[in-house]
Symmetry: C2
Subunit: 117 residues, 2 copies
């Protein structure tokens, strides 16, 4: 009985070589996955849809999304960190809005895929 590797042998060297050359850097892939992670949660997706309509304060977002102020605040921090939302202060109230329109485009492309099933 032979030594059993169980792991894959490279089957198509030429193709593998070519594809490897075209692969983006790991850091870029990581950043991209991190970005999509932000869209990968229902609560955040609801926040994004709400902000697609209007600039909103935290209270209003919590009311629209139907969860607590604290949960919304935690999620807004994540959205801030990935530069998806910006905010401005007006007295005690802080208004959030979407940072750029890539967001609308990403959401739109995603929803197109969903609707085609």
């Amino acid at each position: 009985m032979e030594e059993n590797f169980l792991e894959c042998t490279v089957l198509h060297e030429e193709i593998v070589k070519k594809v490897k050359q075209k692969m983006p850097e790991d850091g870029f892939i990581y950043d991209l996955a991190e970005l999509f992670k932000v869209f990968a949660d229902s609560t955040r997706m609801k926040i994004i849809y709400a902000l697609l309509e209007e600039e909103l304060c935290v209270c209003d977002i919590a009311n629209i999304v139907g969860t607590t102020q604290s949960a919304i605040s935690h999620q807004l921090r994540i959205l801030k960190q990935s530069k998806l939302v910006k905010f401005r202060r007006e007295g005690k109230i802080i208004f959030y809005s979407l940072d750029d329109d890539h967001i609308a485009q990403i959401v739109k492309k995603g929803s197109e895929h969903i609707e085609e099933l």
Copy 2:
């Protein structure tokens, strides 16, 4: 000392009402978040980038991505379930490819956002 709710009062009723009307159904939001969840992992994102170049077998993908056959196989199942990849058999070998071109578009929009930081 008064009863302390700590929770938000609705600050802008009109706006909240309007935005609520425009919100998509919960099921749709859920499906969309689930879709983005698929893009939200480095291994899967590498698989997607590889398949953007070529139809590939599992062995080759494992080699390109730099992980085990088992890990790739698990991830391909997730990609299959969300209709992002399709496959065809040729003897012992199974070739995977991307299912539609929304995928390329979603990845592209995401990467545009990354590159603008």
